[in-house]
Symmetry: C2
Subunit: 474 residues, 2 copies
C-alpha cells in the first residue's frame, strides 16, 4: 500500500525529498529490519531535524491514518522497529545533539538520536556517566535505549533506563507536544508520564528530548571471579552478595554449559569441576574499593565454592572477563541459529529457572544455555538450533513457550531489558491479566487514538489465536 | 447528600454495620480531615479486610456513582484524603499485614495499611530497610506513602517511594483487580503501570497490595555539620557533594533565618556568622564509612565555610542534629499559622530559589524560611502568618502563588514529596501544559471512567477560575 499522494507531497516538502524524506527502494530497505532479523520495508523514511518537524509529520500521518514507526539504530532484538504495517519510519539519526550537560544538576539533556557511547564519552570529561550499558551501547541510541528500557550489567547497582530518566519531551499520536517530568530527582506533581513512556517501544509517543539522570563516575573498578561446583551454590552466593550493604557494580552469571563451552571451545582457563561462574565487580575510589572488594569476597565464599580470583589490576581484570567473552563466539559453534531471550525472575528463583531450563533442553533435545545479569535475576536463555532444520526450529519455538511459562510460574516476567516488540507480543496474555491488558490498551488509545504509532507491537492482537494447548503450564 | 439506601444496605451487609461499615456521625468525623487541616465529613466509612471486599465496595459505588476516597492515616498535608464530595472513605487500617518478607529477593509484600515504622521494625531483623522516611513514618501507612510518592531525607541516596516499588495489586474505579509489575528489579514487559499509580493520590486505583524494593541496612552512619557564611556558599558545597562518587545518605539544608531561629529561639549552639547550615550524613560499614566521611568532609570544604563538625559517635551525632530539631518548635514562636510547601528545583538553582523567597518575604512583609532536602533540590518553604489576621492570610496566599511561579521559572516543580491534593490542584495548569494535562485526564478516565475515585484532587477543575492576574509570573 503506497502512501497517499497528498501525504507524500506534504512530507517531501516538509523534510526535503532525498535528504529528510527517502522513498527510494534501496534507501527504504536499509530501514526495514532490526537485530531480530525480521524485515518489512517501509513506504517512506523520515529523517527529521527538529521537534517541530516531528510534530508536523505525525500530524500529517494522523490525518491520513498512516503508521509511524520510530527508529534509533535498529539494534533491538524483538522486531520493535520493523514497520510490519508499512507507513513511515522516523529515524532520529539527524536529531543527535547533546543539548546540555549540567554537572551541578547531575543531568544531561539530549536529543533521541545521540548514541549511548557518544554520550558516555562526552560525560567522561565531567566525571559522570549514564548507567544503562546494553551490549549495543557503542551503536545504539538513547531514544532506542529508552524505548525498550535497556539495562545491561551495571543495572544491578545503578538501575536500567527507566530508573535514570528525569524528564521527556515527546510527540503523541495526534502530533501534540507533551512535557513530562522535570530536571529534578524528586517529583510528586501529577501522574508520572515519563516512566510510562520508557519501555513503551514507540507505541505511545515519539521521544524528541530526554533529560537523563547522571551518576558520578567511580574512578576505579575491580573484578572478582568466583567458580562454584553447581548452580545452586552460585545462586546462594548471589543471594548473599545482594543481602549485604556493598552492592556490586556487576554480578554476571554463567551456567555449567556456558562454563564448559568457554573452556572447551573458547579456550578459557577454567577448572573441570566448575559448574557455575560468577563475575563480580565493585567500583569506588582508592580508599573504599579495597574494603568493598573484601566484603564481596566474603559474601562470595561459602558452600560449593571451587575457586575465587581477585584481579589486582586492569590486565588481570581483562583476564578474568576472558571466560565471559569467550562464551558468545563459542555458542556459535554449537548451532547456526539461536533464540536469545532475557527473562527475569526474583533472584532467589534463579536455581529453579536454570534447572527448569536444563530439563527443557533434555525434553526438546536442543542445547539451551543460561547466562546473564544474576543480581537482577535477568538471565539470557539461549535456545540453540539449526534454522534450516524445520523440526529443530519447531522444537526451539515450543521450548521457548515453555521457558516463558516456567518464568511466569516462578513469579518472573517475559523481558528484563529487551522489551516485547513483535517477538513476544502473543505471550503478553500469559504475563498480564485481562483487566490490566485492557487498561494498557486504554492508555494506548489516549496517547494514540488512531493507533498509528508502531502498530502491531507490544500489545497482543485483540483475539489472539489460542496458544494454550501449545504452551502447557502457561 | 446521603448515600442511596440500596448502596448502604449492600455495603453494610458486605462489611458489617458498626465494624467494617461506619455511619455514626461521630465516627465519620474521625475520617473527615487530614494534616492539611481541611475537613469534609464522608457519608460513610468502610474498613475492608480483603481485596475482595475492596473490589465489591468499589463496584457498588461505581454502580451508584458514589465517590470513593482511599485513606491511610491522614498524615498528608495537601487535603488529598479529605472527602470534599462526600461519599465513602475507605480506610485501610484493617488491611495492615506484612504478607511476606523475602530477604533473598530484597523485597517485602505488604497490605496498604501497614505503618511505615512497623515495616521498618520488621525489616530490621533481616538487616534490610525500605528507603522512604517521611517525618510521619511512625504513623503513616505504606499505602499513603505510595499514594503521594513520599520521600524524606534518605531519598538523596536511596530514592523516594516510586523508586522503591516493584509491583502493585490495585482496584480500579470500575472494581477491576489489576496486577502491575513483578517482584523483579528489572522489567520491560508492557507499560509500567506501578510507577504511574505511585503518586496518583488514589485518583486512578486503590492499592490493595504492594511489593516493595528493599535495601540492605548499612550498619553504621555518621553525621557532619557544615556551617557557611551564606546560602550561595552552602549551595556550591551541595553541588560539590553531589558531584563526587560518595553520595551522602542525607543532605539537609537550613537558610540564614532558620539558623538564626534555631540559635536564638531554639537555643542551638551555632556561631553568629553562620548564614546557612548543611547536615550531611554518610552510611556504610566500619571499614568504608571513615573513607566516605573523609570524602564528604573534603567536598564540604571550600569558600564560605565557617565551621565543619564531624560527629565521632551517636551522642555527638544527636548533638549536631539538635540545631535541625530545634527549628520546628522555634518556627511556631514566630506566627501561629504556616503554609509549608515542598517545592523542588534543580540542585544548582537552590541559591536563586532561596534568594527569591527572601525577596518575596520582604515584598509581602511576612517571615518566609527555607530548609529541607538539598541533595534533591527539595526545599520546604514555610510562609508564616497569623490566620486570624485576614490581611496577613491574604498576603500569605499571594506569596505562595509567587513561590510556585518562581519555582517553575527555575525549572522546578510544585511538589517533591507531598503531592498536589486539594491544596495545589489549581496551580497544576501553571506546571503542566495543556496537552499533557489533557493526557492525564484521559488516563484518569481509563482507570476511573465514572470519576468516582478521590474526585476533586490532583487534576485542576476543567474551567479553573482565572488566576493569572493573582499570580503574576506564572
Amino acid at each position: 500500500m503506497p502512501l497517499p499522494a497528498e501525504l507524500h507531497r506534504e512530507l517531501a516538502a516538509l523534510l526535503g525529498e532525498g535528504s529528510g524524506w527517502l522513498t527510494d527502494p534501496g534507501e527504504r530497505l536499509a530501514y526495514a529490519y532490526d537485530n531480530s532479523r525480521r524485515e518489512a520495508v517501509p513506504d517512506a523514511v523520515a529523517l527529521p531535524v527538529s521537534r517541530a518537524q516531528v510534530q508536523a509529520l505525525v500530524r500529517a500521518c494522523f490525518a491520513h491514518r498512516v503508521p509511524v514507526v520510530a527508529r534509533g539504530r535498529g539494534t533491538n532484538t524483538t522486531g520493535a522497529s520493523v514497520p510490519v504495517q508499512g507507513g513511515v519510519v522516523v529515524s532520529f539519526e539527524r536529531m543527535d545533539r547533546i543539548v546540555e550537560v549540567r554537572p551541578g544538576d547531575r543531568c544531561a539533556v539530549v536529543e533521541p538520536g545521540v548514541l549511548n557511547g557518544d554520550l558516555q564519552a562526552a560525560l567522561q570529561a565531567h566525571d559522570l556517566f549514564w548507567p544503562p550499558d546494553p551490549t549495543s551501547a557503542a551503536f545504539s541510541t538513547i531514544g532506542g535505549n529508552l524505548a525498550c528500557n535497556a539495562g545491561g550489567p551495571r543495572a544491578v547497582k545503578y538501575g536500567a533506563s527507566r530508573d535514570n530518566v528525569l524528564a521527556l519531551v515527546a510527540v503523541t499520536g495526534t502530533g501534540e507536544l507533551i512535557h513530562c517530568g522535570s530536571a529534578t530527582t524528586k517529583g510528586a506533581t501529577g501522574y508520572d508520564l515519563q516512566r510510562l513512556l520508557v519501555g513503551s517501544e514507540g507505541t505511545l509517543a515519539l521521544i524528541v528530548e530526554a533529560t537523563l539522570r547522571l551518576t558520578p563516575l567511580p574512578p576505579q573498578r575491580r573484578a572478582v571471579r568466583a567458580l562454584y561446583s553447581d548452580v545452586a551454590s552460585a545462586a546462594q552466593a548471589v543471594a548473599r552478595l545482594m543481602a549485604q550493604p556493598v552492592t556490586p557494580s556487576m554480578l554476571e552469571f554463567m551456567d555449567a554449559d556456558c562454563v564448559r563451552l568457554a573452556r572447551d571451545v573458547g579456550g578459557a582457563d577454567l577448572p573441570p569441576d566448575a559448574g557455575a561462574l560468577l563475575m563480580i565487580e565493585a567500583d569506588g575510589d582508592a580508599q573504599t574499593l579495597p574494603h568493598a572488594v573484601e566484603a564481596l569476597l566474603r559474601a562470595a565464599g561459602g558452600d560449593g565454592l571451587v575457586a575465587l580470583d581477585d584481579a589486582a589490576d586492569d590486565a588481570a581484570r581483562e583476564q578474568l572477563w576472558a571466560a565471559r567473552k569467550a562464551l558468545s563466539p563459542a555458542l556459535r559453534t554449537l548451532a547456526p541459529g539461536k533464540i536469545n531471550e532475557d527473562v527475569v525472575v526474583p533472584v532467589s528463583r534463579i536455581p529453579q529457572l536454570v534447572d527448569g531450563v536444563r530439563a527443557l533442553a533434555q525434553e526438546f533435545a536442543l542445547p539451551i544455555v543460561s547466562f546473564g545479569h544474576a543480581g537482577n535475576g535477568n538471565l539470557h536463555v539461549n535456545i540453540l538450533f539449526d534454522p534450516a532444520d524445520a523440526a529443530q526450529a519447531e522444537r526451539a519455538h515450543a521450548a521457548l513457550a515453555r521457558v516463558f511459562a516456567l518464568t511466569l510460574q516462578l513469579g518472573g516476567t517475559l523481558s528484563g531489558e529487551h522489551g516485547i516488540g513483535l517477538a513476544k507480543r502473543e505471550f503478553m496474555p500469559h504475563a498480564i491479566d485481562p483487566p490490566t491488558l485492557t487498561l494498557m490498551r486504554g492508555i494506548k488509545a489516549v496517547f494514540d487514538p488512531a493507533g498509528i504509532l508502531n502498530p502491531g507491537k507490544l500489545l497482543p492482537r485483540r483475539d489472539p489465536p489460542s496458544t494454550r494447548s501449545e504452551h502447557p503450564g502457561a
